[in-house]
Symmetry: C2
Subunit: 235 residues, 2 copies
C-alpha cells in the first residue's frame, strides 16, 4: 500500500508476481463479484477457494461465547483471503464477510495448492502476507486493549478508505460497532465527535472522510504501524 500510487491493476499481491507467473495464475482464476453482506467463509468451513480482491473489502470476524463479535482483519486489493492454505491449514477459523462490494479473482484450493507447491513467487508472496497478518494481529490485540473507541474508529475509517480507494463508503454505526466490538451507541458518540470536528460527515450509513490528516492525528498509532508492517512485509 504505497502512499500515493494509483490503485493496482488487479490485486497488489498479484501485481508483484513476475509477468509469466501472474498470467498463469490469473488464467486459473474466475473473476467474481463480492456483494456487501456476502459470507465468503464460515468460521470452521474447509477452505475450498482463495480470493484475491481487486476492489471492495472484506472483514475477518471472530465470534466468542456464541454472541460477542469482533473484527480481527480487513482485507482488500492489498491482500488475499485464504492464506491458511499456503501454511498447510485447511480451515480459516474466522468468518469472512464482505463489507464493501467489489470484485475478486477467485482460485480453487486445488489450483492454488498446485501453484504453491511449485514454490515460486506466489508461495513466497502469500506467506509474506500471512506474516504481515501476524504482525497486524499482534498490534490489534494491544490496540483493542489500550485505545479508546474514538481513536480506534478513526483508525478503522482510514483503513477502510485505503481499501475502498474512495473517501465515501457505506457503513452504519451498527456495523461499525460489530467491527470494533462495542455497542452501536459507542460508535454514535465517537462518530458524532469526529463529525463535530469536521473530520468526517455521515448520514444514514454513508460515511465521507473530510479531513484525512486530522483523522490520522486522532487515530491511534496502530494505523501507521499496520501500514509499516505491510510495507516491510510485502516489499
Amino acid at each position: 500500500m504505497p502512499a500515493k500510487l494509483p490503485a493496482p491493476a488487479l490485486n497488489y499481491l498479484l501485481d508483484t508476481l513476475p509477468t509469466r507467473e501472474r498470467r498463469r495464475v490469473v488464467a486459473t482464476c474466475n473473476n467474481v463479484a463480492l456483494t456487501r453482506g456476502e459470507v465468503l467463509y464460515q468460521s470452521m468451513q474447509r477452505l475450498d477457494r482463495v480470493y484475491f480482491p481487486t476492489s471492495g473489502f472484506v472483514s475477518l470476524i471472530v465470534t466468542v461465547d456464541d454472541s460477542a463479535q469482533l473484527e480481527v482483519g480487513l482485507v482488500g486489493d492489498e491482500g488475499v483471503l485464504g492464506v491458511a492454505l499456503a501454511l498447510g491449514a485447511a480451515a480459516l477459523g474466522v468468518q469472512a464477510v464482505v463489507q464493501g462490494s467489489g470484485r475478486a479473482l477467485c482460485m480453487s484450493a486445488a489450483a492454488f495448492n498446485k501453484e504453491i507447491s511449485l514454490g515460486k513467487s506466489l508461495a513466497c508472496v502469500t506467506r509474506r502476507y500471512a506474516f504481515v497478518q501476524l504482525r497486524q494481529l499482534s498490534q490489534m490485540v494491544a490496540c483493542t486493549r489500550f485505545h479508546v473507541v474514538e481513536a480506534r474508529l478513526a483508525r478503522w475509517l482510514l483503513m477502510t478508505r485505503d481499501r475502498a480507494h474512495a473517501d465515501t463508503f457505506y457503513l452504519t454505526h451498527e456495523l461499525l460497532g460489530t467491527m470494533l466490538g462495542v455497542r452501536r451507541v459507542g460508535i454514535t458518540n465517537a462518530a458524532g465527535t469526529l463529525q463535530k470536528r469536521n473530520l468526517i460527515q455521515y448520514s444514514r450509513g454513508n460515511v465521507t472522510i473530510l479531513d484525512r490528516r486530522g483523522l490520522k492525528a486522532t487515530s491511534c498509532s496502530c494505523y501507521q504501524a499496520d501500514r509499516d508492517a505491510y510495507a516491510s512485509g510485502v516489499q
Copy 2:
C-alpha cells in the same frame, strides 16, 4: 499438547519430524539455556536464530505508545520462536522474553533457511505452527476485549502450566499484570479471589495450581479454543 502424554523428548514440533530429518536438524542446533528475564529478540531486531524450547516458556510481548505492554503469545516446548523466517520475513515485530527458565535447541537463521528451502517436514511443521499462532492471535483479540481479568488470569495460568509441565512456577502479580495488560492490583484482586476459592495458592511469586478443573471452569473458553487450534493445526 495432547492431554496426558509425558513431556516430549525434546520439542514437540521436532518430535513430529521423520527420524532422519530430526537427527539432521538437531545436529545443527546448539543446546542453550533460557534464563528467566532474558530477552531472546528485541522487537525490530533482525532474526538471526530460531529457538525450539525443550523446557521453560517464553512470552511474546508487544509495546504500544512506548509504554503499554501486553503479551500476545506464549511459547514452550510445543512451539518454536522465529516462525517469521519460515514465512520469508526478517524481523519478528514483537519482543520475546523468557518467563520460565529452561533450555532450547537453537539454530542459526542460515541453517534454518537452508533446511526450510528443502521443503521437507520442518518447513511444513513450522508453517502449520505459524498458522496456529494466527488462530490463537485472533482468539486473543476477542478474549482481551470481552473477558474479565479473572477469567483471563485463569486461562493464562492454565496455559503456563501446560508449558511448564508443572503445577508450580514463579510469577509475580506485577509480571502477570504486564502479561494481561492490566494493573498489578487487578491481578492481586483476581488472584485473591481464585485463592479464596482454593483454585490456586501463591506466595511471593510462587504460584501453585491446586484445582486444575476448577480453574478451567473459571477461565474463558479461549483456553480450550487455543488448545483446539493447536491440535487441529499440528496434527
